[in-house]
Symmetry: C2
Subunit: 146 residues, 2 copies
């Protein structure tokens, strides 16, 4: 299949980014998120629950309840979310699965991959949700429910 992040993780990134677009204090419901981002309702519920547990979001029950960011958008990096959902094992395993591959016995792709891996890590820690949200707001960036 060749993926980097799980579907859960992709949903989480999208949802948190969308929530970051709302004026501070306003709550966003699962219903709205699921509809606009086209994510399965109950599945998204579980994911957001997890993010609340990890402190990245806060939640409120009842009418006009929903979810909001647990800290400033600029302080939530992509890494925070990926780590919360997927974990970050990919940072120290041989990409090609060679069991004996390590720093001391590198496979032919080891060093090359090391650089790429560092690059991915840098991207995750350097990009924050505020930046992501800014791009999502652009007019061309039409969402499912318009």
């Amino acid at each position: 299949m060749s993926i980097i992040f799980s579907r859960q993780c992709e949903y989480a990134l999208q949802a948190v980014t969308y929530i970051a677009l709302k004026p501070s204090g306003e709550m966003t419901s699962i219903k709205e998120l699921a509809k606009i981002l086209d994510i399965p309702y109950h599945f998204l519920g579980k994911i957001l629950q997890n993010l609340v547990y990890k402190g990245l979001l806060i939640s409120q029950k009842g009418p006009s309840g929903g979810f909001a960011l647990g800290m400033a958008a600029k302080d939530i990096t992509l890494f925070h979310i990926v780590e919360a959902i997927d974990g970050v094992d990919f940072t120290n395993k041989c990409v090609l699965g060679f069991p004996e591959c390590s720093g001391k016995n590198p496979c032919a792709a080891h060093t090359h991959w090391g650089n790429l891996r560092d690059g991915i890590y840098q991207m995750l820690v350097s990009k924050n949700i505020a930046e992501m949200a800014k791009d999502m707001k652009k007019p061309e960036y039409q969402l499912a429910a318009g």
Copy 2:
């Protein structure tokens, strides 16, 4: 989960690399591969079947039968194998799963990721099985069955 290539794909890479170590003309059986590389026997059978179908390997039934490379080791790139097993969709999807993200409507990570993605692609097309095999042959690189 954060993976890049499926387990099937990892097994394929390891098996093809091991086969490349054999003198040309000699066949390698599933039995030997499964034992030395510590890969489930029947599962490996299916994977190799697929690689034969795709032309990367050739096979021969019966005693002293097995598998051999379908072309010169230096002409089989990692890309060939990844493409045959996993497909290479990752080369044109948004890493973060944003459905609207594209070259024209890039998300904040798009350009940055584009470079990393190109790097991964370059690694896959530039590394070939002959190079991988050379490293596998090193003495430190002990295999499961010695």
